[in-house]
Symmetry: C2
Subunit: 223 residues, 2 copies
């Protein structure tokens, strides 16, 4: 049954514009397409072998995800997040994630594990000094937190916020320090949750947001 549902999902994924958008999204998040870069319709369309119309549909999708910005008659550019953007993103995250975390007492172990496990994985990757995977596990930790709310729509919007934040992280000079320094804090959050101190965990999560936001804004300001 689960394999059938999976197969259906694969079949439904067909649109060329959607595939192009997915490919471009990866390139943007990889950093291969740097923030501020202009994406010429002709150049990109020619390189990917799709028509301008189809490419423009893909651009619309990514613009809605805030990875690209569209300027009329000038083209689309890879978004370059500002300090205000980061403040806005963290204001949204504070509300969403702290609110979702408050649901901890009401959810089952499946959802709880989606919060706990990424921290274990992050620790393992940190020990191996695999900073990319550490960062990815960190994202999964926060995705797990949002998942506690039990809203598909909220999770999808959060994914967009995370993607945009990863764009902002690209300007950070030392991502290793950033991710490693917050890992112990996240671990404490999980320990507080396991101990039943949800309010304490929320407080620590909020403290994490304050620290991370200030750090990122400062690095963006020094450019």
């Amino acid at each position: 049954m689960s394999t059938l549902a999976q197969g259906k999902a694969d079949l439904e994924r067909a649109s060329t514009a959607q595939k192009v958008a997915d490919m471009l999204r990866e390139r943007v998040l990889d950093g291969e397409l740097a923030p501020g870069l202009r994406l010429s319709e002709e150049a990109i369309g020619g390189a990917l072998g799709v028509s301008r119309n189809t490419l423009r549909e893909a651009f619309r999708l990514l613009t809605r995800d805030r990875l690209l910005v569209h300027e009329h008659s000038r083209g689309v550019f890879v978004r370059r997040p500002t300090g205000d953007d980061v403040r806005d993103l963290y204001a949204a995250r504070r509300v969403i994630e702290c609110g979702a975390l408050a649901k901890w007492p009401d959810v089952d172990d499946l959802k709880r594990d989606a919060v706990r496990r990424p921290i274990e994985e992050a620790t393992a990757h940190g020990a191996k000094e695999d900073w990319a995977k550490l960062g990815a596990a960190n994202i999964r930790f926060h995705r797990g937190i949002v998942g506690l709310a039990g809203s598909h729509r909220l999770s999808e919007e959060s994914d967009r916020l995370f993607a945009e934040l990863m764009l902002a992280f690209r300007v950070v000079s030392d991502p290793k320090r950033l991710h490693m320094s917050y890992l112990p804090l996240n671990r404490e959050i999980v320990e507080l949750l396991n101990a039943g101190d949800v309010d304490g965990a929320i407080g620590k999560l909020r403290a994490y947001f304050d620290l991370a936001e200030a750090d990122l804004v400062e690095q963006l300001a020094s450019l």
Copy 2:
């Protein structure tokens, strides 16, 4: 300065696809385009005098807003919200609005008035039995609550949630009863806020969500 920024915003608003999307959005929220209706590219494009490509761009925008659903090679349809959709929407609203409301002590009077004023307006419209305006004021009340969080992104996502919810409201048999019955509850929330009892207000808001969700789900189930 503010007039200049306004003028620039007006100038930038130009794209045909955007205008078509705005027009279609109104029609969908009016109910002129009923949930479940299929939107033929040829028919709509011909009626609006735009090409298929431009129309498809508009469809993508509205699909992202969840007002339309896109089925591959079958076309786009006006979304028909299900009970699960409503539960998802309210789960998201609970997290967002309760979290935003918790910021009440930290915000200025401008933002607080954006919460208080719509309730006064709703009361006035209710007295005149203008149910459409009463519903609109109710939405503004909740927009004001989200605005307390101070995140532009969160407010925009909430607008999408509200729009989708208005789609679900279209199946309600007696919108008058629905809006009127919750107005006193909203008024109590404002009074609690003015009295400084933020936690009490959050509790009442949560109670409102529980009632409204159950009501809407029940009406959707009886179809």
